[in-house]
């Protein structure tokens, strides 16, 4: 059986200002099985958002393959992309800029159904009402405008619109990062709830490891355009194999002073290198605490260690 999402050796390169292309994504392979939630984590510039954009056809791959339910997106025609976008829907970070301020939220949520001819008139109104209720809003909200809602409510509206076509794959790019702490919990509960109810596949992009652990079944860690480690949630949090995963986990400040202050510090030296001029060999070698000579020359392939796939010579 094919996976809901299958990405193979994806490369996305952007033209650089000074000649060398920016290799934002440089050979990423991953899949999301039916009903599964895959977390994609990493720091700014690691390429996680570019992978998400390529998944819904918002970014054409430079090379490699992106398949949604078996349909290839790389080099696909407009009509194929249009068809795939009905099956793969995206939720962005900022709900304020994701909604047209001059459109009622009923019109915004119903638009995907209307433009694809799935519903109109009374049937459309009923479906919009059901979608709003599904995300915890009320049917009578349909006539209101985005500015009449709080940030958390607006993210609910965006989620309702993404669900309208009953997609097989939901791509969430930092869906709670712009929200206040108390509102974040409401949206996370809603996402977990929707996953359980619809058995939807989800690609969940986030920089927040605690959030990813809370909603995901498996986790992929990206560094500088490549996958460092992919593993089931419990494996990656209990026994991270890649030194970058370990450093990332150690850096998460836990909201518990006793735990946080007892935690061993694994400070990473230096900064993330430029994706226009990535280091040779393992891309993490310039900051790696356990680097050996091999890492400077040889690219570590992803290989199976325990339950994890790790790109490290020393794992």
């Amino acid at each position: 059986m094919s996976h809901t999402l299958e990405i193979t050796d994806l490369k996305v390169h952007f033209p650089g200002r000074h000649g060398a292309p920016v290799r934002a994504v440089d050979g990423v392979s991953l899949h999301v099985a039916a009903g599964e939630t895959l977390g994609l984590v990493g720091e700014s510039g690691c390429g996680k958002t570019t992978v998400a954009n390529a998944t819904v056809g918002l970014q054409a791959p430079t090379a490699g393959s992106v398949r949604v339910q078996g349909t290839e997106l790389a080099g696909a025609s407009r009509s194929v992309l249009r068809d795939v976008r009905a099956r793969a829907q995206m939720v962005f970070q900022n709900p304020v800029t994701s909604l047209n301020p001059r459109m009622t939220i009923g019109a915004a949520v119903g638009e995907p159904l209307l433009v694809r001819g799935r519903a109109a008139g009374r049937a459309l109104r009923d479906q919009v009402a059901a979608l709003l209720e599904e995300v915890g809003l009320r049917a009578e909200h349909a006539g209101r405008y985005p500015h009449q809602f709080s940030g958390g409510q607006r993210q609910r509206i965006v989620i309702a619109r993404a669900l309208a076509l009953r997609p097989a794959l939901l791509v969430c790019d930092e869906p709670v990062s712009a929200l206040d702490v108390s509102v974040r919990a409401q949206i996370l509960n809603l996402l977990v709830d929707l996953q359980a109810r619809h058995a939807m596949s989800t690609l969940f992009v986030s920089h927040d490891l605690a959030v990813v652990r809370h909603v995901c079944d498996r986790v992929a860690v990206m560094y500088l355009g490549r996958i460092a480690e992919i593993a089931p949630r419990d494996a990656i949090f209990a026994a991270p194999r890649h030194p970058y995963t370990r450093a990332l986990l150690a850096a998460v400040p836990e909201p518990d002073p006793a735990v946080q202050r007892a935690k061993p510090r694994l400070p990473l030296a230096g900064e993330i290198p430029s994706p226009a001029n990535p280091p040779a060999g393992c891309r993490f070698h310039t900051r790696c605490p356990i680097v050996v000579d091999q890492c400077r020359h040889e690219v570590p392939p992803l290989r199976r260690v325990g339950d994890s796939d790790v790109a490290c010579h020393l794992a």
Binding site: E43, S182, A185, L249, A251, P255
Partner: protein, 320 residues
Amino acid sequence: MTPAALTVAALSLDLGPTRLVDGIGFSVAPGEVMALVGESGCGKSVTAQAIMRLLPDAIRQTGGQVRLGEEDLTALPERAMQAIRGRRLSMIFQEPQAALDPLDTIGAQIAEALRQPLSRVRAEVRRMLEDVGISDPERRIDQHPFELSGGMCQRVMIATALIARPAVLIADEPTTALDVTIQAQILDLLRRLAIERRTAVVLITHDMGVVADIADRVCVMYAGRIAEAGPVAEIFAAPMHPYTALLLASIPRLSDVPKSPLAVIAGQVPAPGEYGPGCRFANRCPRAEPRCATTTPPLLAAGQGREIACFAPLADRRAP
């Protein structure tokens, strides 16, 4: 007890007829990190601006005092305040790149905090850059902000803020724009500098993880008031205000059960101007009593250095 480096007493800030900050007070000792934590709109950033006397024109201080050591800053003329900012009282901001002058070298900007040309204080500036963990300071000193990463720019801002050895540093979301591995470096740096230089730090943040990491004490703000204040260890172990408790329970942790429901706070923060006469959390509070909606609970001492503003706290720690 050492005298406080900074004391804020009964501070009130108004935007037209709307009271944004309603009589808050706290103090910070030398070498202590005091976190001001709360969600957007709770008044934590305007409080910082009021301490610096850098409020936007539309917001007025209508009551209270800000004291630096023994000196009341509220009454000082702007000229005297200018001599204090950057020397005895410094501030760092969330967006380091936006806070630095793009046209000036970082060395010159750090020297400016000493009111000296770089040529005269170059050795001192270089030592400060080393102290905040900038590698190769001799080269960096002559570079411009665009040549530095976000994390390095934040180190430069910290160097600028601390080179004159101020008694108090206000850090407004200093790591919010940074990646976690860089955030960890900057938090370690702030804590080390607070201890070594005896700087009193007011850390403004929305992130309970950051508070747990480096703060000694915390003031939890809600809708322009302090809900609860006290030592970080005690408040995290046993929050007394229902807002603090719910806020802590709503954060996903590396230790909780994945996909289990997180605690939620019903409704949303009321907008300034829509506050009722009583406790501002009353309409969202699961423990609210009738009087909570009509009477403002005062902030009272609750033992162990704690203070709480609640008629129905979770565990009543007040002495019998």
